[in-house]
């Protein structure tokens, strides 16, 4: 999802675990939360850093496609709402970086890895936002898919990650509703051109949204260990199915057509049958060859480098003030 391809080891059987690992697994099975300074297997720590880091990077890179429309939102109200939403994403990134930092990595280290292309972020943010309806589709579909993944992660075994997810989920429903509201206006009260624009956004974002859940379970080699550790709660296909089932009626209400001729209600399974996304496209985007990968990374690196003088300046000021206070105390003694 926001962490789509987190590499991890295969799951260990109980017999292969050391006594410490067994005791750790017992705690997880009992539903206890693991807290920062407690003993944990090295693989658990490393996998979590990768997963939470990817998730944090996705929040930050995810600001770019939406930020693109802040200056061009159609009304002042829409602009204020979109600005608030994009600001929220910065906060989500911050909560997640903080959670990762409790595992012994610094935020600057994580950002360096992102900027060097050594850490990933969600494939979805490598698609362009071409028209205003895209902002509606991003809120409705992309944040909708994110919620699907993040709600169960509130119960994840790592305390700081779980607490970050609880904060994030409180804000996500605002995000999804603001997106749907944009499309409601365009589809139910808009002109034919505006409706066509909304359908075009739907056509382009449907499959990339389905890809957010990661590869099909049969090709997802890393799930077993993560599920055993409760840092992944549902399988990719379970979440994708839930997302489709939830989204189809919402699309029908808007009068939008889901771009999938195979989409059909399946009474027997109590859910929709649907086409898989093109996984070769997914792997190409993840590997850096999506429509906007280069643009996104350039924007990130430029922002980071252009902000360096500011970060250093404030730190130098803080150090100078601290020195002055020390000197003043000294003189008074």
């Amino acid at each position: 999802m926001y962490a789509q391809l987190v590499s991890a080891e295969g799951a260990k059987s109980r017999e292969d675990m050391t006594p410490e690992e067994n005791a750790f697994q017992d705690r997880i099975d009992r539903g206890e939360k693991i807290e920062p300074k407690e003993w944990m297997p090295e693989g658990y720590r490393k996998t979590l850093i990768r997963q939470i880091g990817q998730h944090a990077h996705s929040e930050i890179v995810g600001q770019l496609p939406e930020g693109n429309w802040i200056t061009r939102a159609p009304t002042l109200e829409r602009k204020a709402i979109l600005l608030a939403k994009v600001q929220d994403e910065a906060g989500h990134g911050l909560y997640l970086y903080s959670a990762a930092e409790t595992l012994g990595v610094s935020r600057d280290e994580l950002l360096d890895l992102l900027h060097a292309g050594k850490m990933k972020y969600s494939s979805i943010f490598n698609y362009p936002t071409l028209n205003w309806a895209d902002i509606g589709a991003v809120g409705w579909l992309v944040d909708g898919a994110a919620i699907m993944n993040q709600v169960p992660l509130q119960r994840t075994s790592y305390g700081p990650y779980s607490r970050a997810m609880i904060r994030i989920c409180k804000e996500e429903s605002f995000h999804q509703r603001q997106g749907y509201d944009i499309l409601l206006k365009m589809c139910l009260q808009g002109t034919e051109d505006q409706k066509a624009m909304a359908q075009d956004a739907m056509n382009r974002f449907w499959y990339p949204a389905l890809m957010m859940f990661g590869p099909s379970d049969k090709d997802s080699v890393h799930s077993a260990q993560s599920m055993q550790w409760k840092i992944k709660i549902n399988t990719n296909d379970e979440l994708r199915q839930k997302f489709v089932d939830q989204t189809v009626p919402q699309a029908e209400y808007l009068g939008l057509t889901i771009p999938d001729p195979n989409l059909k209600w399946n009474e027997e399974k109590g859910g929709y049958d649907f086409s898989e996304p093109d996984w070769s496209e997914f792997f190409a985007v993840i590997a850096g060859n999506g429509p906007c990968n280069a643009e996104r990374m350039e924007a990130r690196v430029t922002a980071w480098e252009d902000g360096a003088w500011f970060r250093e300046g404030l730190m130098a000021h803080a150090n100078k003030q601290a020195e002055r206070r020390k000197a003043a105390r000294h003189a008074a003694e």
Binding site: E38, A90, S98, E101, A164, A318
Partner: protein, 94 residues
């Protein structure tokens, strides 16, 4: 010199006179900026009326390995709870 801003722990008091409560962390160069950043990140939706910022390094925490010696002794002291006593029904609510 590393220019990475130090980490701060943020505590917020909600509207109804409750204790300050830990809400999360953030990076800031100094205490004043920590308060400003906390305002921007953690009180966006009327979450609070007061902020404390404490440098993470200044917090002393109990060690996870001391959990047993620190907290188990109170497990056997049920008499510290009001539910330990049987108050006759005739006496009414107490």
């Amino acid at each position: 010199m590393s220019s990475e801003w130090p980490l701060w722990e943020i505590f917020i008091r909600g509207q109804h006179g409750l204790n300050h409560r830990h809400v999360g962390s953030l990076h800031a160069p100094d205490a004043e900026m920590a308060i400003r950043n906390a305002r921007d990140v953690y009180t966006r939706r009327n979450e609070g009326v007061s902020i404390w910022a404490v440098k993470s390094n200044d917090i002393t925490a109990s060690a996870p390995s001391d959990k047993g010696p620190l907290f188990e002794p109170s497990n056997s002291k049920v008499y510290r709870h009001p539910t330990f006593f049987d108050i006759p029904a005739e006496v009414g609510h107490m």
